[in-house]
């Protein structure tokens, strides 16, 4: 086994679109040694290896694991293959960092996590947006009491997934995600749910209503819209959660709103900014004015900073790099990774709950 001072031997299965974010970290981080890349397409594996300085390429995952003996494997294949490949990696003694969703259902996630526990390995589902600056800022505002007791959390994502030419709307080569329980929304529901959980980890959701719709119609999409409301009890009383995915509204956004007993905070993850509407110096009557001024200044400045972020290629995936860095540091030190089995189980539990036909509205 690798000592804590040496980089972890890392391997990647699947060189599709999201792999660029993982491979970029693995190429650049001193914590990682990219020993292999595997893809069913030889040219895709070769391209990834050449671009990201991987030592070897493979078209067979089992062969790659046997030859390279990685400490950790990134499973970046389509969701339906996550469990099988992850179990194989655990069998070979490797930790697994798997794209979301780690498993299509809660029971399958338990199978995966039980296997990891028995093998003394860790499975880490990609919860990258937990680590984005805006989410961290809101978490800080909760932690320092600025927002008071968290009473409502709304996660809203709007994506133009139905436009012709997009990867989900391709009738010629239908995306496998449409066969997942939540259809195309399953590609995003993990993000929405772990962010809800991020601000409500101790809430037991006991009243749930979920509207799953196919507003755009047709046979390819089974679902293109989610409107879920969750009401639960936390240690300090009632909490409301709202999960919203829309394919019909614009512009594209990924907004997190946390409302507390003292104030509320909002962050946008695609075009980043953070607003806090909280008690300000000057008291109750002056606080709204002070919030307007403070948030106006923030929005003005973020407009320019977002141009800079775009030019400097600081994408909404910057949280993934932070997650990977913390994960690699933890694994090297023998500590729990920053995304825990408990978080993954709560996330999958919420997804299973809102998929329950009994709660559909």
């Amino acid at each position: 086994m690798t000592s804590s001072n040496a980089p972890l031997r890392a391997a990647v299965i699947g060189s599709g679109a999201i792999s660029a974010q993982h491979l970029g970290f693995l190429r650049d981080s001193p914590r990682a040694d990219l020993v292999g890349v595997c893809d069913l397409s030889p040219i895709t594996a070769r391209y990834a290896a050449e671009f990201y300085d991987a030592k070897q390429t493979f078209t067979d995952a089992a062969e790659m694991i046997a030859v390279t003996r990685p400490d950790i494997v990134h499973v970046l294949t389509p969701p339906a293959s996550h469990v099988g490949l992850s179990l194989s990696c655990l069998d070979a003694g490797a930790h697994v960092l798997v794209e979301k969703p780690a498993a299509p259902t809660l029971p399958e996630l338990h199978t995966l996590l039980d296997k990891a526990a028995s093998a003394d390995r860790q499975v880490i589902e990609n919860h990258n947006y937990r680590f984005n600056d805006g989410v961290v800022a809101l978490a800080d505002a909760v932690a320092d009491g600025s927002l008071g007791i968290v009473r409502e959390v709304e996660i809203r994502m709007a994506l133009d997934i139905r436009s012709p030419g997009g990867r989900f709307a391709d009738e010629n080569l239908p995306n496998g995600i449409h066969k997942m329980p939540a259809g195309v929304v399953h590609d995003f529901i993990t993000h929405l749910t772990y962010l809800l959980d991020h601000f409500t980890p101790e809430v037991a959701w006991d009243r749930i209503g979920a509207g799953w719709s196919n507003h755009g119609g047709g046979d390819l999409f089974t679902v293109d819209d989610l409107d879920a409301t969750l009401i639960g009890q936390g240690p300090d009383g009632a909490v409301h959660g709202k999960l919203r995915f829309s394919a019909l509204t614009g512009p594209e956004q990924f907004q997190v709103t946390v409302r507390g007993s003292n104030g509320f905070g909002v962050t946008e993850l695609f075009q980043p900014y953070v607003e806090l509407n909280i008690p300000r110096a000057g008291g109750g009557q002056l606080s709204p004015i002070a919030n307007h001024l403070a948030n106006g200044r923030i929005r003005f400045g973020e407009g320019f900073r977002n141009v800079g972020r775009k030019l400097m290629q600081r994408s909404p995936y910057h949280g993934l790099h932070q997650l990977l860095d913390e994960t690699y540091a933890a694994l090297a030190a023998g500590r729990p990774a920053p995304v825990t089995p408990a978080q993954m189980i709560r996330t999958a539990s919420i997804i299973d709950a809102i998929l329950d036909p009994e709660v559909r509205v």
Partner: protein
């Protein structure tokens, strides 16, 4: 009697339809590759021709054309992705080519006309004003070029590997693959008269960059003629030795300057967009300053729009001379239509895809 069929990928595309038409005109049997949901009507007046087979498949799938190719087919690979993000382009160009060649191998196909592009050349490595031919080096730093160039560069790697290998199954087993790589310049025609070598949209107007540079153009009907001629060269015992393994650029004979091109379109009644014109040296110089600042202040990490990236500008606007002797020698091809004729045809109402439906063939 030949039994060769010309199988054309991207058959309903901007260029593909002209290639199908030209192949049919010359009496070939044609296999037109269409995606599963693409209507045959997208082939226009070519649909239903008695020598036209429709092959259904999406080349992004490993089995896109599995079982539909025959050992004696000559594959003309035109399909490529010209839009979308890198992943989309990679799938539509690189994966599609990998899968096509694997399907061809499974069928024991021997012949390939591989369509590449001028975009994979490193225009920055050549002195402006010089002759731009097949000896110009290819891109050495793909990250400085756009996604189209990057993916086409990888595609050509696949072509070359296939061209160096041999057939491993069927009646052609053991024969070395026969392949010619063609690199067309900017293809223009009725469907795409205004193109990227003139400039870029700039709000409500069009930013024209440069006026005097010779445009490396090839007219759609001329490129279709060249591609079918290339297929025939691979089948011709007298020409195959010259064509096999060759790489040729495709440009027309009488190439206009940027100004001449725009003037010709305007004279033919084309509604030329309102434009602002910036001299090439001025724009290129400004981009160079921007690049140096990027390198100095940001270690080159700032990603600027392609219209201000020196290497991408050179690929579009740097002036060169464009000989086409290699194509003429290797393929035995001559551009059929002069620039003036091409403008007249492209801006006319004539059915450029018209094909006699008679059953006379060369097959």
């Amino acid at each position: 009697m030949s039994t060769h069929r010309l199988v054309i990928t991207g058959a309903n595309g901007f260029v593909g339809r002209y290639v199908v038409a030209e192949a049919l005109r010359r009496g070939h049997r044609v296999g037109a590759v269409l995606r599963p949901t693409t209507s045959e009507a997208s082939l226009g007046s070519l649909a239903g021709h008695p020598r036209l087979d429709i092959l259904r498949g999406d080349l992004r799938h490993p089995k896109g054309l599995d079982g539909q190719l025959a050992p004696d087919d000559v594959v003309l690979h035109l399909a490529a992705s010209k839009g979308g993000d890198f992943g989309t382009r990679f799938a539509g160009t690189v994966l599609a080519t990998e899968h096509l060649l694997a399907n061809a191998d499974a069928a024991g196909v021997e012949h390939l006309v591989a369509v590449s592009t001028f975009s994979i050349y490193d225009q920055s490595a050549v002195k402006g004003g010089s002759a731009f031919d097949e000896h110009v080096p290819l891109i050495s730093e793909p990250n400085k070029r756009d996604d189209y160039a990057k993916t086409k560069l990888v595609q050509e790697t696949l072509y070359r590997e296939w061209g160096a290998a041999s057939v491993t199954t069927g009646p052609n087993d053991g024969r070395k693959h026969r392949m010619v790589i063609v690199r067309p310049g900017m293809i223009w025609g009725r469907e795409e008269l205004w193109h990227a070598l003139l400039g870029s949209p700039l709000g409500p107007r069009f930013l024209r960059i440069g006026r005097k540079a010779t445009l490396p153009l090839i007219y759609t009907e001329n490129v279709a003629d060249a591609l079918v001629t290339a297929a025939e060269a691979l089948l011709d015992p007298a020409r195959v030795a010259t064509a096999d393994g060759a790489t040729v650029n495709l440009v027309d004979d009488d190439l206009p300057s940027q100004d001449d091109y725009v003037a010709a379109l305007a004279a033919a009644g084309y509604d030329v967009p309102a434009s602002v014109t910036v001299p090439w040296p001025v724009w290129r110089g400004a981009a160079e300053i921007g690049e140096r600042l990027n390198q100095t202040l940001f270690d080159g990490n700032m990603k600027l729009p392609g219209i201000v990236v020196p290497e991408q500008l050179d690929a579009r606007f740097k002036p060169f001379r464009y000989p086409n002797e290699a194509a003429k020698h290797v393929l035995g091809w001559r551009p059929r239509h002069s620039f003036a004729e091409a403008v007249a045809r492209a801006t006319s109402e004539a059915d450029l895809l018209a094909v006699d439906t008679g059953t006379t063939t060369n097959a």
